[in-house]
C-alpha cells in the first residue's frame, strides 16, 4: 500500500511537471519563431529606403486651380477614406481636410469689395503643421507633438486623454474630437490605417505614414498638381521654387505660429 501510494505521488507529480512544461516548451518554440521574424522585421519596421526625406515639410495650395466644389471633393475623399475619417454629419463632425470661404479661411484679410470670383472660390483647410504649434504647447500629456526630424505635428491616439485643450489652443480649427465611437460612421474601413476610439482628438498628420513609404500626401496626389508638397528647408525643392515665383499668404500669420501651409490666391 505504501509503495503504491509512493508510486501514485511520483506519477502525479511527474504528470504535473509535464503539464507545466508543455506550454513552456511551446512558448520556447514560438519565441524562436518570433526571433527569426524580428530579424527579418528589422527591414520591415526600420526606416524604409524609399522614405521621403526632409527637415521641414510644407505645402503650397494653388487655389486658382481649385475653384469649384468638384475640384475639392476628390481631395477630401482621398484623405478621409485612407485615414478612416468618419462621416458624422453634425456639429460634432470629424474632418482632416475640408473647404471654407475666403472670409472663414483668412479672417485677418477682410476687404470690402472682394473680387466676386474669390468670394465664390472654396479654400482647402487642414492642419498647418506650425513651426510653433500652440496645440503641442498646451497638451498636458505630450500626446500631440511636433516631430523633431521633419516638423510634422502628430498625435498619439493612445496617450490622448481627451481634455481638448489643443482644440481650444488651435487658432485654425484643425482639430476634431471623437465625441462618440467613430467606427459606425466609416463607410469602408481601410485596414492599413488605425481607426480611432471615442474620447480622443485627431487631425491631419501630413500623411506621415505615406511619407515613410516614399509617397506624397494623399491630398497632393489627388490634386492634379494644385497642391505642391516638399521640404521648405531645401532651397531647391519644388515648394521653394513655387514660393519664389508666386505671392502667397498664410492663415493668421500675426499669431506667430508660423504655418507650413501657403496659399496662392
Amino acid at each position: 500500500m505504501d509503495k503504491s501510494r509512493r508510486n501514485f505521488i511520483r506519477l502525479a507529480s511527474l504528470s504535473a511537471l509535464g503539464m507545466g512544461a508543455a506550454p513552456a516548451l511551446a512558448r520556447a518554440e514560438t519565441a524562436s519563431a518570433v526571433y527569426t521574424e524580428t530579424t527579418e522585421a528589422a527591414d520591415m519596421y526600420g526606416p524604409n529606403a524609399n522614405a521621403l526625406e526632409g527637415t521641414h515639410w510644407g505645402m503650397v495650395i494653388d487655389t486658382t486651380k481649385l475653384t469649384t466644389p468638384e475640384d475639392i471633393a476628390p481631395i477630401v475623399e482621398a484623405c478621409h477614406s485612407i485615414h478612416n475619417v468618419p462621416d458624422i454629419g453634425n456639429d460634432q463632425e470629424i474632418k482632416w481636410i475640408w473647404s471654407a470661404t475666403f472670409h472663414e479661411s483668412f479672417t485677418e484679410k477682410h476687404n470690402h469689395y472682394l473680387a466676386e470670383e474669390i468670394h465664390e472660390r472654396p479654400f482647402l483647410l487642414l492642419c498647418n503643421h506650425c513651426e510653433h504649434p500652440p496645440c503641442c504647447r498646451v497638451c498636458p500629456t505630450q500626446a500631440t507633438f511636433k516631430r523633431e526630424s521633419d516638423g510634422v505635428v502628430l498625435m498619439d491616439f493612445h496617450r490622448c486623454i481627451g481634455c481638448r485643450f489643443c482644440m481650444a489652443a488651435c487658432p485654425y480649427g484643425a482639430r476634431s474630437f471623437n465625441f462618440g465611437d467613430p467606427r459606425p460612421y466609416i463607410s469602408q474601413i481601410n485596414h492599413e490605417f488605425p481607426t480611432r476610439t471615442r474620447g480622443v482628438v485627431e487631425k491631419c498628420n501630413f500623411c506621415a505614414e505615406r511619407l515613410a513609404k516614399g509617397e506624397e500626401p494623399a491630398c497632393v496626389e489627388a490634386s492634379n498638381g494644385a497642391i505642391i508638397f516638399g521640404d521648405l528647408d531645401d532651397p531647391h525643392s519644388e515648394v521653394r521654387e513655387v514660393l519664389k515665383e508666386h505671392f502667397t499668404i498664410r492663415r493668421k500669420p500675426t499669431l506667430g505660429t508660423q504655418p507650413s501651409v501657403y496659399y496662392i490666391i
Partner: protein, 387 residues
C-alpha cells in the same frame, strides 16, 4: 472627529439622502457618458469646452473664499474671523474637489487621467493647474483638520501649522492665476487673450467665493447654534463689496479696450454675448441679466445701511452669486469659443445630460461640505465656541 457627522437630526439625514439620490442619478447618466462618449453633451467641434470646464473656472474662485478670511486673521490678526475660518477652509476642500471632478467628467478618456503625471509636461498649463489644485486641497485638509483638533482639545494649534497657513494664503493666489492662464495664453481666442484675465479671476473669486461662504454661513446660523458673529459678517460683506467693485471695474476695462480700439476680433465675443451675432443670440438674455444683477448687487452693497441690513444681505449675496456665475461660470466659456476661429457662430447650449452630471458634481461638493461643516459645528458646540 468624523463621528460628529454620524449624529444628526432627521432633517440632516433627509438632506444627505437627497444629495445621495442626486449623486446616484447623475452617476447613472455619467455611466452613459462613459459608454456613449461626450456626444451626449451639447459641446461640438467648434465649442469644445462647455459647462463642465466653466464650472471648474467658477469653483476655483469659490475655493479662494477661505483666503479672504485667513489673510485678515493671520496677516492682520483680525480676531473676529477666527470662528468662521474653518468654514472657509472646509469649503475650499469641497470646491477644489468639485474642480477636479469637473475636469474628470470632461475628459474623453478618463481612465487615462494619470497620463498627466506619467508624462509631466511643464509647458502645459493644465499640468500646473492639476498640481496647484491638488496641493491647495491638501493644504486645506491639513490646516482645517489640525486647527479643528486643537480647538477640540482646547490647546493652541502646533506652531508649524502657521507656516502652512502662510503658504496656503500665497497658494490661493496661484490657483486663480494658473487657472486664468489656461485661457489667457491661447492665441486666436480674443475674449481670453487678455493680460487682465488673471486679475479678473482674482477679483471675481474674492467677491463670489466669500459671498457663497457667507450665504451658507448665514444658513448655518439659522439651522444650528453656530453664529459667525455680527462683526465678522459686516467685515466680510465689506470685503465682498470691494472685490465686486474691482470685478465690475475690470470688466469695464475690457469693454474700453475692445470698443475704443475698434478692433473687430476683440469686440466680436462681447457683441455676440450681449446682442447676438449673425442671428444667433443664445446668451443675450443671460448676459443682460448678469449685468443688471451685478449693478443691483453693488447698489445693495455699497451703501452701509443696505449692506448692514442683515435681513437684506442674503438676497444681495444671492444676486451677486447669480451675476458672477453667469459672467464666469458660463459667459467666459461661450465668449471664448464664439464667434469661432472662422468668425462664424456654432451655438452652444448644454444638454440635459450635461446639466444632470454637473448637478451631480455639485451634489458631491455639497455632500463633502455638509459632512465637514457638521464636524466643525459639532466640535465648536462641544467646546462652546459656536457662538
Amino acid at each position: 472627529m468624523l463621528e460628529k457627522a454620524l449624529k444628526g437630526k432627521p432633517s440632516y439625514w433627509i438632506w444627505l439622502f437627497v444629495l445621495l439620490s442626486l449623486i446616484g442619478t447623475a452617476s447613472i447618466v455619467y455611466i452613459f457618458q462613459l459608454v456613449y462618449g461626450l456626444q451626449i453633451t451639447g459641446m461640438s467641434r467648434d465649442v469644445s469646452w462647455g459647462l463642465y470646464i466653466s464650472q471648474l473656472t467658477y469653483l476655483v474662485g469659490v475655493a479662494a473664499s477661505a483666503v479672504m478670511l485667513v489673510l485678515p486673521a493671520y496677516f492682520h490678526h483680525y480676531k473676529e474671523f477666527k470662528r468662521m475660518i474653518i468654514l472657509g477652509e472646509f469649503m475650499a476642500i469641497a470646491a477644489v474637489m468639485m474642480c477636479m471632478l469637473f475636469v474628470l467628467v470632461d475628459l474623453g478618456q478618463p481612465q487615462r487621467m494619470l497620463n498627466i503625471f506619467m508624462y509631466p509636461s511643464p509647458n502645459s498649463i493644465l499640468f500646473w493647474d492639476a498640481i496647484v489644485l491638488n496641493v491647495y486641497m491638501i493644504l486645506n485638509i491639513i490646516i482645517g483638520w489640525i486647527t479643528l483638533q486643537a480647538e477640540r482639545n482646547q490647546v493652541d494649534p502646533p506652531k508649524w501649522i502657521k507656516k502652512v497657513i502662510y503658504l496656503s494664503i500665497i497658494w490661493a493666489f496661484s490657483i486663480h492665476t494658473v487657472t486664468a492662464f489656461l485661457y489667457s495664453g491661447l492665441p486666436g481666442r480674443h475674449y481670453w487673450l487678455t493680460a487682465i484675465m488673471a486679475a479678473r479671476f482674482l477679483s471675481s473669486a474674492f467677491c463670489s467665493g466669500p459671498a457663497i461662504l457667507l450665504l451658507l454661513a448665514l444658513l448655518l446660523k439659522k439651522l444650528t447654534e453656530f453664529d459667525p458673529g455680527t462683526q465678522a459678517i459686516k467685515t466680510l460683506a465689506k470685503i465682498i463689496t470691494y472685490a465686486m467693485c474691482v470685478n465690475v471695474f475690470f470688466f469695464l476695462l475690457e469693454l474700453f479696450t475692445a470698443f475704443y480700439s475698434g478692433i473687430p476680433g476683440h469686440q466680436a465675443p462681447i457683441i455676440y454675448l450681449f446682442s447676438g451675432w449673425e442671428g444667433h443670440a443664445e446668451w443675450v438674455a443671460f448676459m443682460w441679466t448678469a449685468a443688471a444683477l451685478a449693478i443691483l448687487s453693488l447698489v445693495l452693497l455699497i451703501p452701509a445701511k443696505f449692506r448692514d441690513n442683515h435681513a437684506l444681505l442674503p438676497w444681495t449675496l444671492a444676486i451677486l452669486v447669480i451675476a458672477t456665475w453667469i459672467d464666469k461660470g458660463i459667459g467666459l466659456m461661450v465668449g471664448g469659443f464664439t464667434p469661432n476661429v472662422y468668425e462664424a457662430v456654432t451655438p452652444y447650449t448644454p444638454s440635459l445630460w450635461e446639466i444632470i452630471i454637473t448637478l451631480g458634481v455639485y451634489g458631491i461638493g455639497a455632500l463633502i461640505l455638509t459632512v465637514l461643516w457638521k464636524v466643525a459645528v459639532g466640535v465648536k458646540q462641544e467646546v462652546g465656541t459656536a457662538t
